[in-house]
């Protein structure tokens, strides 16, 4: 019981919400919002109570203080996503399917938790599928909008394709080693050609989920078509969970061919950061803009993985945490503005500071954090990522990444320029955002400011992850 606490708690609240949903009348479905958020908050808080580490199902499931930490980070992110989506869920067209939103997201979260705790590839694959398929339904949530339906279809097709590729890779792993357990596979990895092929397939499958170049083509379209809150969920939680398990598997299963995968990563990092950035520069729609920016950010995260050290591992987790706060802050602002005014392009944001100073400030802080400007958390995250990569001697790679931070600063400044510098004849009028949105954004801002200043978060991750690498 104790060992699987995170998953069990999530299953329990999912069931509770499902039962509550049955008894709510069709016109009153939105009443589920508050209990759902409170339950999620409770789960998040309980998650921080130290759990007993252990192994279940003969090694298929393992729980360590480190996996607990990862799950807590995801829980926290989902809580913020829930809080931020209230304003959108209360809109008339969404009223009768509010509960589905929570149920689907919770089931993907359960999938992610199993995935992170998996001790063999079967559990990993089950978790991955559970974490992916419901999101396609969510992307098509606003089914009356053509783009939303398109996003759902695109997501399900690409997910199916990537899962297929991944599974093919896993079957080759099984073929060469005769087992699916991580701990049994690891010593048998010897860099045989078939294993290399298996790794490449596995890598391609994961690259789809993390949306690395050249497997990123679905990202912008899906983010643009999906509702803003689903896009933000996709860009931080889904991506974060995939990065976590990707790191764990690279470090625990494929560590013997680290030389191979660091070469692959080297190229993928350069491609991802550069192409993500170059495309982000030209975007007018802020959802697409954030989509490409999140592709570039994923490239930066890989810098920590290529470091192949305790430092790199810690920094990856730390950066994902920072990235959750920063990206959710930006998406939160885009979401509330899109809900209230329907405006999503950069030109619409002209002069926003004069009418809605607080929203602009949150947006500015989030973007500065994404760009890595001190004293915000993003600065520390980026600095440590560069340190991790430089430790291995990848100075040229770090230089390329650094040049890319300048490019990224340029396009983040474009949004800030629109909000603060430009004046507009028809700016977005003043509106008062609801309590939930404000709480969500304040949580993000606190995260952005505090996580960097207090070194304790970083030290905690470092100590928990000790010995994993």
């Amino acid at each position: 019981m104790q060992i699987m606490r995170h998953e069990l708690l999530l299953i329990v609240i999912t069931v509770i919400l499902l039962i509550v949903e049955i008894f709510l009348p069709n016109t009153g479905k939105h009443k589920i919002i508050l209990p759902a958020i409170l339950l999620m908050a409770a789960v998040t808080i309980i998650g921080f109570i130290p759990a007993t580490p252990g192994i279940l199902f003969g090694g298929m499931y393992q729980s360590t203080p480190f996996t607990v930490l990862l799950k807590n980070i995801l829980n926290l992110g989902v809580l913020i996503v829930f809080i931020q989506s209230v304003d959108w869920l209360k809109q008339d067209q969404n009223r009768e399917k509010v509960s589905e939103y929570f149920l689907l997201i919770l089931s993907t979260l359960i999938g992610m938790n199993f995935m992170i705790s998996s001790g063999d590839f079967l559990m990993f694959y089950l978790g991955l599928e559970l974490a992916t398929i419901p999101i396609a339904a969510l992307a098509a949530y606003e089914r009356f909008k053509e783009k939303s339906a398109e996003a759902g279809v695109k997501l399900i097709f690409t997910s199916a394709l990537s899962s297929g590729i991944l599974l093919y890779g896993l079957s080759m792993v099984y073929g060469t080693t005769g087992t699916l357990y991580f701990s049994d596979i690891a010593p048998l990895i010897n860099g045989a050609p078939l294993q290399v092929l298996a790794f490449i397939f596995f890598f391609a499958g994961m690259a789809f989920k993390i949306s690395l170049v050249p497997f990123h083509l679905w990202t912008a379209d899906v983010y643009e078509g999906a509702p803003v809150n689903v896009a933000s969920y996709l860009s931080v939680i889904s991506k974060g969970a995939a990065v976590f398990i990707f790191t764990i598997i690279l470090y625990t299963v494929f560590y013997k061919i680290a030389e191979l995968w660091s070469e692959v990563l080297y190229i993928i990092i350069i491609l991802t950061i550069t192409i993500g950035n170059l495309f982000a520069m030209r975007q007018q729609n802020l959802k697409r803009f954030l989509a490409f920016s999140s592709i570039a950010q994923a490239g930066f995260i890989l810098l920590g993985i290529i470091g192949q050290s305790q430092l790199g591992m810690t920094t990856v987790v730390y950066f994902v945490l920072v990235y959750i706060f920063s990206n959710l802050g930006a998406f939160g602002v885009v979401s509330i503005i899109s809900n209230r005014t329907g405006k999503e392009t950069m030109d619409d944001y002209d002069g926003l500071y004069r009418t809605n100073p607080n929203l602009s400030l949150v947006m500015m802080l989030s973007l500065f954090s994404l760009a890595g400007i001190p004293p915000l958390a993003g600065f520390f995250g980026k600095f440590f990522l560069f340190t991790a990569a430089a430790e291995k001697g990848y100075y040229i790679l770090v230089l390329i990444a650094l040049i890319n931070t300048i490019i990224s600063l340029y396009y983040y400044l474009l949004v800030i320029k629109a909000m603060l510098l430009n004046n507009s004849d028809r700016p977005i009028g003043y509106f008062k955002s609801d309590l939930y949105t404000r709480i969500g954004l304040i949580m993000c801002v606190i995260g952005i400011v505090v996580v960097g200043f207090t070194s304790s978060v970083y030290e905690m991750i470092f100590n928990l992850g000790f010995g994993l690498y």
Binding site: P375, F384, T387, I406, L413, I416, L420, S455, Y458
Partner: protein, 503 residues
């Protein structure tokens, strides 16, 4: 806990105070109180420092505070000062204080303006007191970013373009610095042991020469971008011309000094071997910068552009002096930073005030201003004379020291470079006296100017404070130069160890 921390705490509290203010006047007075305290603190620091030295405390760094911040990476919050940083802190406090009064007229979003300005100042203060490369870098970037908003929102002319160009170029420089810092970090423990960002500790060890040769150009160019190293100076004229008055003052007066100080404190100090081997390349660039900036100023018609190019020339002279690698010239470099900081701040303040009255910055459209605004005009003449190095003002002391030091250096290459750089003094006289002649003397060309008024009280505070600084250094330079020389000991030791016959 050292009282140096107050240099960061006071600006932080001032920013919070300003954000809580509702009224325009409250905002300004909060800023004045905060930065006034900072100025008092800086003066107090100078006296305390001199007293410590006089009482025989010859430690390399005084008023140390060392707290562990990120244990894993051995990042410390490590602060302390030597003679050079005390001088820079004094300069910063003076210019920021004057800058607050020079921007008394800001009407649009004053709260945001003063918040950004003081954030910038806190970055600069933090940079000068840091002795840990990580925090140094953090404060460096913190000082650069508010410039974007300050120029973009309150600037004039092609402000969006200038702001973006300036920010991206400076951040490009900081990217190089970051790589250099990482290089230093991973070479900071050649015998095993924990890696460190501690500047003093790194200065005590011998970094492998091939690593030095790789990272020295990165660090020198990185800081050099901010120090207006030719050909990376192009952000400077555009940025200064578009910036509002106080921002030009702070930027030319203080922020550009971060570049020179970084070259001195990080690049040359920690990588002396590479500095010795590669210094000549940058010496050529700096010499070109000196003469190019001066000639550029001659051709300009816009007051701010004239002064921006003159800043390029004077800041290049700082880098030139650092690269001479002898004690006299190094001393002159620091003196020049202080002197030019105050002088150029005075210039930009006056230009802002003149522009506020005449609504043009083109010298050909103005004339005879001495008659209608004698106070500002006289102040302008003083600034001009200080700039061209008239004895009695700070510019003379600084340039004299630099060129005396440079002529001590033996070798045709250095002699030629010195002669070229020294000839910029003549060019400086040309553009300064030309402006003074056209702008201030003669008849009033535009009848509208008959009615304009002279400086207001807040203008006067700003101007008088800065003129006081110039003349104080000009008439009594010895205390400052002694203080600086005391701080130069460690770097000279390292340089002499590399090449004993540097003189």
């Amino acid at each position: 806990m050292s009282f140096l921390t107050l240099f960061i705490i006071i600006p932080a509290l001032t920013v919070i105070g300003i954000l809580l203010c509702k009224k325009h006047m409250q905002v300004k007075w909060t800023a004045v109180v905060g930065m006034g305290l900072q100025l008092i603190l800086a003066i107090g620091l100078i006296f305390l420092f001199l007293a410590e030295r006089r009482s025989g405390n010859m430690d390399e760094i005084l008023f140390i505070q060392d707290n562990v911040w990120y244990q894993t990476l051995n990042i410390h919050f490590f602060i302390g000062v030597d003679g050079v940083s005390v001088a820079m802190i004094g300069l910063t406090a003076l210019v920021v204080f004057a800058g607050i009064f020079a921007s008394w007229d800001i009407a649009d979003l004053p709260r945001e303006f003063f918040t950004s300005l003081i954030l910038l100042a806190s970055g600069v203060f933090g940079f000068f007191i840091s002795l840990d490369l990580f925090t140094m870098f953090l404060f460096y970037e913190l000082a650069v970013i508010p410039m974007y908003l300050l120029i973009g929102i309150w600037g004039s002319g092609p402000r969006h373009y200038s702001a973006m160009k300036l920010t991206l170029m400076l951040m490009g420089g900081s990217a190089l610095i970051l790589l250099g810092i990482l290089g230093l970090y991973f070479n900071s423990a050649p015998d095993g042991g924990p890696l460190t960002f501690d500047l003093i500790q790194i200065s005590k060890i011998q970094i492998p020469v091939d690593a030095q040769l790789f990272f020295f150009p990165l660090l020198f160019v990185g800081f050099g971008v901010l120090g207006a190293l030719f050909p990376f100076h192009t952000w400077s004229p555009d940025g200064h011309a578009s910036a509002p008055t106080a921002v030009s003052m702070l930027h030319a007066g203080v922020l550009m000094k971060l570049g020179g100080y970084g070259c001195y404190r990080v690049a040359v100090f920690l990588l002396p071997e590479a500095a010795h081997q590669l210094g000549w390349i940058f010496l050529i660039l700096a010499t070109i910068g000196v003469i190019y900036g001066a000639l550029g100023a001659v051709w300009q018609k816009d007051l701010k552009y004239i002064n921006a190019y003159s800043s390029v020339s004077h800041c290049a002279l700082v880098l030139f002096a650092i690269l001479i690698f002898n004690e006299t010239a190094m001393n002159g470099a620091i003196m020049q930073m202080i002197s030019h900081g105050i002088m150029t701040a005075l210039f930009f303040a006056l230009i802002g005030m003149i522009y506020g009255r005449t609504h043009t910055r083109y010298i050909n459209e103005m004339g005879g201003l001495m008659k209608v605004m004698p106070f500002l005009a006289v102040a302008y003449v003083i600034a001009g004379l200080a700039s061209l190095g008239l004895p009695g003002f700070s510019g003379f002391v600084a340039e004299m020291t630099i060129f005396v030091g440079a002529f001590q250096k033996i070798g045709t290459f250095y002699r030629v470079a010195t002669i070229i750089a020294a000839s910029s003094i003549v060019v400086t006289a040309v553009y300064i006296l030309r402006v003074v002649g056209i702008l201030l003397l003669g008849k009033i060309t535009n009848p509208e100017y008959e009615t304009i008024t002279d400086a207001k009280w807040y203008d006067k505070i700003s101007v008088v404070a800065l003129i006081f600084g110039i003349t104080l250094i000009g008439l009594a330079p010895l205390w400052l130069s002694d203080m600086i020389t005391g701080g130069l000991g460690p770097i000279m030791q390292k340089l002499l160890a590399v090449a004993p016959i540097l003189n």
